[in-house]
Every structure is written in C-alpha cells, then in structure tokens.
Subunit: 367 residues, 2 copies
Amino acid sequence: MPGDDGVRRSTVTINDVARAARVSPSTVSNLLNGRDERMRARTRRRVLKAMDELGYQPSRVARQLRTGVSHVIGLVVPSVANPFWGGLARVIEAEALGHGYQVLLCNSERRPDRERSYVEVLWADGVRTVVLGTSLPSLSHLVPVIERGLCLVAFDRESQPDDPPVVNVSVDNRLGARLVSSHLVSLGHRRIGFVSGPIATVSRRQRLAGYRDALAEARLPLDDKLVWAEGEPDGFGDVEGAELGREGMAALLSLPDPPTAVVAINDIYAIGAISAAQEQELSVPKDLSVAGFDDIALARLYNPPLTTVRQPLEDMARFVMDVVRKAHDTAPAAPSSIAVAPQLVVRASTGAPPRQRRQRAAPKRSA
Amino acid sequence: MPGDDGVRRSTVTINDVARAARVSPSTVSNLLNGRDERMRARTRRRVLKAMDELGYQPSRVARQLRTGVSHVIGLVVPSVANPFWGGLARVIEAEALGHGYQVLLCNSERRPDRERSYVEVLWADGVRTVVLGTSLPSLSHLVPVIERGLCLVAFDRESQPDDPPVVNVSVDNRLGARLVSSHLVSLGHRRIGFVSGPIATVSRRQRLAGYRDALAEARLPLDDKLVWAEGEPDGFGDVEGAELGREGMAALLSLPDPPTAVVAINDIYAIGAISAAQEQELSVPKDLSVAGFDDIALARLYNPPLTTVRQPLEDMARFVMDVVRKAHDTAPAAPSSIAVAPQLVVRASTGAPPRQRRQRAAPKRSA
DNA sequence: CTATTTTAGTGTATCGTTACAGCATAATCC
DNA sequence: GGATTATGCTGTAACGATACACTAAAATAG
C-alpha cells in the first residue's frame, strides 16, 4: 500500500456528506455549485440536511486547486501604519468582503523589490488579482508576473506611457492640488509655497503640476525657491513625512521673502509643516495658512483642523472591486485609468494672509 | 475520456521540472522538501537548473491541500483605519513575513458576529492560526472553532476566568495606567480625571483599575464624578473616539470642581479631549494636563505632543509570532497570558497644575 | 409496443504536491 | 563469489473538490 502519513484529519469532507446522504460526491458537488435543478427535491433536502448535521464547510483550498479560481485578492500598500493606507485597506477590505473576497495584506515599505517579491509570493499562493497601492513611476519590475496573467490594479497612480497593461484607479491629483492652491489664491495669498518630499512618484508630480496650474491661472509668478522637494527618495515612511514637512516649512520660512501660505504634499507633511511654523511662534492660520492632501481621519482632529483635499476612498474602493470582479467574470479588464474627482475640504488651517508682511523670520518675533 | 474543462493552464508545475531534468516528480519534491542528502550532487544540480530555467514556483495551494499546513495566518482587528491597529498590523505583518507567513487581514469593526464569521471563513480557507485583536470581555462566540482546533492568539486582552484555551498577548494595561496617573500626581495634580468610552472591554477595565491604583497609592480620594465613561458600547469606531474624548472632557470641565489633569483611555480620546479644552480657551498643558495611552505615531506629531504610555508593538508582535510558530512546530501552545511592560513617554501635553484654581468653567475666561 | 427523449443521478480523471514503500544498481562484507 | 547493505531514485495513492461523459430508469412519442 502506498504512502500515507500523519496529517491530522478532523475536517468533514464532501465524501462524508455524500455517504451520510447516500448519494455520490458528485451530487453533493452539483448542489454546491448551483446545479440543483438536475436533482429531485427530496435528494436536495437529504443532502442539505447531511451538510447541516455534519457542519460541512467546503475546503476552499481544494476548490481552488481544482478550479484555479481564488477568492482572495492581494493588497500591497506602502504601510498600513500610515493612516491613509490604513484607511484604504479598511474600505477595500469592506468592499471585498461584501463580494465574497478576502484580502491578503502586504506592506511594501515602498521598496520595489518587496513589491515584486510580494506579488510573486501572492502568485504562488494562487492569488490572481492584486491591488497595488504604489506611486512608483515605473511598473517595470512587475512585468513578468503581469505577463504570466496577473490582474493588477494600481492605486494612487495615474497611467504612464510605458506601463504594462494595468488598470489605474486614483484621485485626480492634479485637479486636487489645483483646487487647494486656488483656494489659497482666492483667500488673497500671493506667495504660496509647496512642501513635498522628493517628487519621485507620479502622484506627487501631478500634485506639483496642479499647484503650478493654479498659480499660472492666477497669473502669479512661479518661484522655484518656494517649492521645497527634498529628502531621501527611498526612506520616506510615515512619521518621516511629518519630519520632512517640518524641515521644508523651516526652509521656506527662512527665505528672504517667505510664503504666506503653503500647500503640503499630504496631510502628514502638513502636520509637520504646521508644527515648524508654531515653533517659530507663528499662528496657523493667522500668520500662515497650511493645507494638506488626502483628508486622513486625523485631518479634522488636528489642531487646527486641516484644510485639505479629500480622496473619496469609498468610491475608489468600489471602482477597484468592480474591476476585480469583472476581471474574474469575464476577460481581463482592458488597461485603463480611472481618475476620481477630489473634493476640497476647507477647515481652520487656512485663512486670509496677514495684513502686514512678516519680518524676515527671526524667531520669537511676529508681525 | 472523462471530463476536462476550461481551466487556463499556464503555470509551470513540478512535472514540467521533472521532465526537463529527466527525473521523476518525486525527486523534485524530495529536493524541494530538503531531502536532498539522498541524491547525487549531479542530479540536484540538474533539477535546480531546470527549476531555474523554467522559473518554477511550487503551488502553495496544492501543497496545502496535501500537507494540511498553511503559511497564512489571519489577523482580525477592529479596524486598520485606526492608527493603533494599523500600526499593529504592520509590525505583525513584518514579523510574519520574516518567518515565511502571509497575513490575511480582517476588520471586525468590533462586532462579535463579524469576528466569528471571519474566523469561520478563515478556517474554511485552511487558516489554522488567527491573531485576534479584540478587547471583548468574552470569547465564547469563538469556542466552536477553537474546539475544531483553531489556534487563537488574543491581542490586547488579558486572560479571563472562563476563557477557552487561548494565548493572550497584551501590554500590562493596569500598570500603564498607573504609570501615567502617578506621573500626573508627581507633577502636583490632586484632581485627576479619567475619560473613556464605555468600559466594555478588558483592557479598559484594567486601565481604569490602574488609574485608581495610582490615586490610592497617593492617598487621593476617588471621586466617581471625575470618571467619565459613556457613549454607545457598540458604535465606537475611530474618529468617534476623538468625539467621545471631546464630550468627556467637556463634561468634566463643567464640573463645579473640575480636574487639573485628565487621563484619556487612549491617544485618540486624548486628542479629542485636548481639542475640547482648547475650545474653552484652556491651554494644554498650562491650564490643564492631558495624557493618552498607546503612543500611536500621531502622538508625537500632535500639537502639543502627547504624554502617553507606549505599547512596545514590535516586541509584542514578536511574542505573537513566537506563539504562532511554536503552535505550528509542536503541539498547540498551552493557554497562557503574556503581559508586556508598558513605557511612560512624557511629552508636552502634561505639566504642573496651574497655580490658581480655575474658575468654574465659564467659556472665554481663564485663570 | 418499440423508439426516442428526459430525468436524476454516478464514475472517473484531474488540479499540483507529497510521503512512503518499493526497487534496481552499486558498494561492502566475510 | 554470493549474500547483505547502502545509495539513489521512482511509482502510487492520496489531499478535497469538480466537470464532464455517461447511464439506468422513467416519461413521452409515434
């Protein structure tokens, strides 16, 4: 007799049900798969009863091996410790659950190698759909898996010229940045700064473009000294964002002619920027306006509550899951780009510019 | 010929490798499973080469079906949109990854029925280990699955008398609360409030007890009017926490003899509490001290930076994964409770009490 | 009353991997 | 030199579920 081994067997299988209902496993399977018109009502009842009595749960593993279809989708984000991605993870998970999917979570820490190895592991795991929260300008490191047939939905990233066939879902970053920037213009600001980490991602590029759009539209001069975009391209985590925001703001405030308002690349940076301003005894928004981007849960909780650009995450999650489901039902979705409209949220961190121009930032002195 | 069907076949299997290396699938399997001492070096090289050339990745699904062991663990938390749980999810995932595990993420939204149905789905999925971030006092809704053999590690919850056999990993909540409270005492505070949502969870109970310990130790009277613990037991989400914190603080401040310091049940509540104080033109910490609990990433970013109790998440995640791995290697881990030492983090939201007692809270007036 | 269709199921091979028994061949022993 | 042991690999039957081809029996047709 050929091998058998010490696998603990405690689960009830389709065969147990079949035996209990005195039918063949095929019949049980037929019932399970909605082919129950081909079955007498009595039989169906018998099987149902057996399933119930034995507490039968079909093994998804076996199912997946046989059918090749998986009900788990991968979600790769930079880090769920970051409230923006945490928020996304929650809404994606909720949407997925509603459609019978499970979510396998991966934190890439924004490293392309981890993105790639994760996606490979997911593939080996039978996962055929991955939602990738990334902003990397290139998706080339993922080409091999995509060619093998992986359905990739890129989030927070607008499509790029040389992209492999993927679906992109993101907010219209350029429009969003234009909205906040114009808001500041309409409050009367004429010198508006921009604080960002390195512009190493598509979305950041777009936001910067939107900021410039707004200034151009208002016929304000574009002063490159007002755009602070420094820091390490790689190591930008979560708290680091605030650190960079603080640095950037400090740099802009030490300019001979500092800005009266600042657009931050996102809410975390905005928070850092505000604390830098406050260290110099500047009051936000009285002496200086600061706006963020994303509208994380914290934005309205902060002190002062942040003016920001809201990403409609729920809607976006719904789009993502639509794509996922279509890809499962029919052919792989055609490569496309969905840009969702952002929404300006005005709170207390922005206001009219101070009447009198501030002195050149000498700490402990204000207007 | 019996049925075959339209499953798309594109993956390279163990058989392809075997054929390419001119050996049997068994040999490839042997190599894969570390039984390669029983194999000539030449053969091993040939197989390795074939695997490499074909880009072979063993199917985890097939493996799991055959061996019954799963390398994915479930992580059920109230909501990753909450920064505390998001932070935990990240460190758990990192630890898991380091040991070859994947993490399936589930947001229970703190509903027992969802906890249960998730755990059932995970079981059907072949997941045999679940880390449950919960604080529900009872685990009785999970007894059936635990009896089937699920290894459950409960996080942020100290063990309770009637618990099913689970391992608990949590911070020593009581000690933590005692630490912050004593810190406030040592700053000179004599009337110290406590702001919490409903004390419906084990950890909250413990924190309240720790607060009382500290007061007793300092021979300060326990005034129940200083303990605010209201709100809906069910619907306490993420932002809601701040809302409750704000409400609670407002209530305490309207007392005839309001506290000079407040311990909040966690950092989110503390943030809400601070904003309530600021609405009444009270400055934190000058007029009023507020401390939190958890030390979420935001705590040091807030304005003012929060004095709080740090949960050493990395250490705790390591403990959790130790348990998980032991449960896989050997017998199921013995039920136990690990309470990790918390750490007081003093920042700027706490200070000495104001010299002169404040007036009975009439808005727009301060000391 | 035989021929055809429908109904209500069953049998079998298969998804990719694994553990063990089995079995040639080569090496070692007395 | 024949028996024994070690070495190196292969064959087989599962793990649990599924889809199709198939088939007895019942229903309908002519």
